[in-house]
């Protein structure tokens, strides 16, 4: 199916990989406006890879990816960034030796003109960072660093935010905080696609989810639907 009205992102039967081998065999997913969509699945399912495909880090060998009316299947990352998709990597996602404010500045590197509204938006979303604006990102706690990482990505006012395992290594308290922040970002008008290892919690807070396994779709539905599904539960023993 092609791009449906209301879809911000649409990935159709996507096939691709890094080198010669395909990691994704047939992945389809959509993200609508003001939606949080999560990709879950066992290790090696290709969750992060699917996200990297959206961001242009993979070799596309089949299928397509459409964003905001454009076919971005073969675009390079910097062009994709300019078109409105921002990516927050799982690790090494801040400049540790630069201050919080400088990190945000670097997030807006490609933007010209006045950045004040962008800073306002981020500091409003993440009030904790205001007091820490001059602190080095490397000196912050894990949760605060994740805020900086997301804030960095939001400086370009993206339509779609890609989050790669944002709660990895965080305590339950920070995890909840990140989920709350993510909801705030969605309410501010940004669509969010994220990959999560903590499937249960992620499905509880997301609007819709996709379960991937071995590089292809397995299940899809709203968060609640997937949580209730027995097959899905079996895939994640204790997940």
């Amino acid at each position: 199916m092609g791009l449906q009205t209301g879809d911000v992102l649409s990935m159709q039967d996507y096939r691709g990989g890094y080198g010669d081998a395909d990691i994704l065999h047939s992945v389809s997913l959509t993200v609508g406006e003001k939606e949080i969509v999560v990709i879950v699945g066992p290790n090696g399912a290709g969750k992060s890879t699917a996200m990297k495909a959206v961001f242009g880090l993979l070799k596309t060998r089949g299928g397509s990816i459409h964003f905001d009316g454009n076919d971005v299947s073969r675009w390079a990352p910097n062009k994709i960034v300019q078109s409105g998709i921002c990516y927050v990597p799982q690790v090494e996602n801040v400049f540790r030796e630069m201050t919080v404010h400088e990190n945000l500045e670097m997030g807006a590197f490609l933007r010209k003109g006045d950045l004040r509204d962008a800073f306002d938006r981020v500091y409003t979303l993440f009030p904790d960072l205001v007091a820490k604006r001059s602190a080095l990102a490397g000196s912050l706690s894990g949760g605060q660093r994740q805020m900086v990482a997301m804030g960095r990505a939001l400086m370009l006012d993206p339509k779609l935010l890609l989050l790669d395992e944002p709660t990895a290594g965080l305590s339950p308290r920070y995890m909840e905080q990140i989920f709350q922040i993510t909801r705030d970002v969605r309410d501010a008008g940004v669509s969010i696609l994220l990959v999560e290892q903590h499937a249960k919690q992620a499905l509880a807070f997301a609007d819709r989810g996709y379960v991937l396994a071995a590089g292809a779709n397995r299940h899809t539905g709203t968060g609640a639907e997937l949580l209730a599904d027995r097959e899905v539960a079996e895939m994640f023993l204790g997940g």
């Binding site: 242009g56 880090l57 073969r74 675009w75 390079a76 990352p77 910097n78 062009k79």
Partner: protein
Amino acid sequence: MEIWGLLNYAIFMATFIGIYALLSLGLNIQWGLGGLFNAGIAGFFGVGAYTSAILTTQPVDGRLGGFDLPIVIGWISAMIVAMLIAWPIEKICSRLRSDYLAIATIGIAEVIRLVIKSEDWLTNSARGITQVPRPFGDLPYFESQLAYLVIVVALVIVAYVLIERQLKSPWGRMMRAIRDNEPAARAMGKHIESRRQEAFIFGAAFMGLGGALFAHLNRSITPEAIDPMVATFLIWIMLILGGSGNNRGAILGAVVVWIIWSFTEILTDQLPHEYAIKAKYIRIFLIGLMLQLVLRFRPEGLLPEPQSGTPMPSEATGQKTKEREA
């Protein structure tokens, strides 16, 4: 007379090539096998030369020496002293990237040069050590040169065989495993740092021996006998051009580069005097350029390593994601 002259020159050249082949083989163990960047080869060379000279010459006033030991002892000691110096240098750098070893070896070569130049009582400073004995030195000139060539060639062959055997041994296989995939080797519990130290010390021994052979060939050794940077660099380009990781490549590189180097010297010697001086630096420029060209267009060298995997030691410096056209 002409024929004799040419023959003598050929024998002299061949002896030099043999000595440089030994140095190149030594570097191959350090770089080709161990991935270690030794930018101070001249230091180990010098240490070997002076050790052997000091130990094998007659007593002389004002200078330590006169042990008048047999030449073989001199040569073996040269290797041992080179190894003794190599060990701490590598150990200090063993957990750090190769860049640091490059700097440290530049440093140790400098310090060795300083000691040679300043410590009168040890090295006779600028005047150097003379009357270094020669094996079969009492023979007539031609026979003596020939005898020395035979010795050097024999040593090269022995070295080659020895190193080849080591390469095929479990130690050699482990070295290659470390070089080709360090994270995997480390995960298997291989003690990377010790193996690298062994490679460095092993290679240094050959460099010390080369220095000793040089001193005994010329029957003397002075601080000015070799230009340290040029010598170090010549050996590097011998190895890279010949094919690093590859013993035959090391020897071939020595042959090719030394012939080119000597040939250009003959050419520039024909020039009028004021150009001849500058010509030396032009030759150095060309040899530097040659390395850049080889690195660019034929980094595997003339004799690429037959093994699978890169001839160049790989480092886990992280691969970047390939960038597409925007």
